[in-house]
Amino acid sequence: MQNPNWSWPFSAAANNPFFSQPPNPLKNPFDWSAWQTGGATSAQDPTAWMQQFFAQIRQAMPDGKDAATAEWQKAATALSDSMTTQWERWSELFSHAGGGAPGSGAMHSGIQNLLDEQMAPLGLSREVTRQMQELADVHAQMGPAIAKLQEALSGFPEQFQKALAALIEQRTHAGQPVTSLRGMIDLWIEAGEHAFAEIAHSDAFSRAFGGFTDALSRAKIARSKWLDGQLQTIGLPTRAEMQTSHERLQQARRDIRALKREVAALRALIENQQAAPASGEAAPAASAAKKAAAKKSARKATGKRASAARKGAATHTQQED
């Protein structure tokens, strides 16, 4: 947890108006949004919620006036006891890790513990917890990546001082001592550039720079995924959805373009062939056009196939199927 900003997604989730609807976990027990803010019996005490849930189910069942119904009630009770016991175990694990529903304060501290202990999340909020874990994790990785970059640059002051001393010495030997402030600044710039270049060209810096870029990208991807999840819950288009649409559209444009070119080449070929009998001189031109069209068609087809293969175009898949 080197980056103090790592916790932002949780505070953002806690402040998110979509997470603060009135809790009613019994309305739909599989609607996880009801867990996010939770009531006294749900978010803070999931076992109590579970017991309440099964009690309601039992109440909703008809009285056992005959043997068959009594058997059903018995089975339901056994099932509820078994699941409640199971839930208690899971809950214990979560309590150990902090527990709580996503977006709640308990959830926040729970995530910290899960991260600290690298514990796999459980239960209905598993996927959301996993996503937040990932988000927190990639943000936490920014710290070491920045530290490595700083480490790669750490030799700069020493390099700079050496470069500046060397330049001064060089000037002195040449009988050109620094005589103005501007001359001093220019020398400072030259030394700085020289020292930085030494580091910037090094493999260590290149790797640290790459590591930093990758860490930044991972954080941004995780954040986008999280944001997409939020957008999905309120029925707005997501980035991923737009990406899919744009890719399909662009592939369709490529295909149309390739077809247009082929049609144009074929049209030219036909026109030249039609013109050929009328004039003996047109024959070579027709022949050249035919060759060019054939070559172009072959190349476009190759390109199209490769492009389609690379992009997993549906048309290509269908042909292969």
Binding site: I168, P177, E190, F196, S217, H246, Q250, A306
Partner: protein
Amino acid sequence: MTGFSMPNMPVAIDPQKAMQEMANWQMKFGALQANLRGLQDETNGVTARECVYQQDKVRLYRYAGEGNRKSPPILISYALVNRPHMMDIEAEKSLIRSLTKRGHDIYLIDWGYPDPADRVLSLGDFIFGYIDDCVDEVRRLTRSDAVNLLGVCQGGCFSLCYAAANPEKVANLTVMVTPVDFQTPDNLLTKWAMHADVDQAVQAFGNIPGDVLNVSYVSLKPFQLNVQKYLALLDIGDDPEAVRSFMRMEQWIFDSPDQAGACYGEFTRKFHQENQLVQDALSIDGVQIRLDRLTMPVLNIYARDDHLVPPAASKALASKVGTKDYQELEFPGGHIGIYVSGKSQKLVSPAISDWLIARN
């Protein structure tokens, strides 16, 4: 830099002179502030032009050649990085104007500003899509079978790929500050890109923000580009026209379009990380790019002091092309100076013009 102490060195700075210097800076700074106030952005270059073709965000502009002299038309494929008006940034520092004055019609591809929907555009979409369409449009407008293609930096890489795949459509090829071997020892951009998971970056960012690239470019020479450059601005602070000129460049430098994600990822991986172009191992949308298919005349212009594209990265083209008509021109300056310096107008545009006229 805490704890830093000056080495024991002879510095002969006269206190009186130092005071004078500081007073001078104060005055320049005051004048600079006055000259910066109210300056407007100028984004489209200075030479008259018309849009002759457009597709999506791509525009093809035509700058009409001057006079009765009919010099060969030129199609310029600019890089996706930064905006193309750098080639026409000021009347006296405009490569485009310099060429139109020599009678060339100039066609310029402006890629526009990609938005998030453009993140799926691939290298092939740019090279075999947009460039091919612009080439066809220029062929149609000029009633010629093949164009004179001029590629700039990354646009030069695109031009090499395009010309190698479509040699029948390119009569003459000029590339400027164009890397071919991306892994020369002095190529810092490649070194920084080597260990990054670029596909993951594209997944994360979609389009790669122009500001991210700006940070990278400025970080290549952090002292010069963050300190020295602005001290130089202070030096010219009392010269309104010089300040204006400086600010045009400043605006151009930081007016960076985002990079279409898929294209950026593919370019970084195939060109920088795997160095496929110089090894003839490059394949774009299934089309093999072999530099020995460059059978048309090739003019390769590189900048001697280029810190972005080292000369060796460009000169690697010499041994790879299939043509015997290959020429190099070394420009005594840097990556940007090759377009906007006074020397450029005297050296580069006449060289391009003469070279083309001799082959048409």
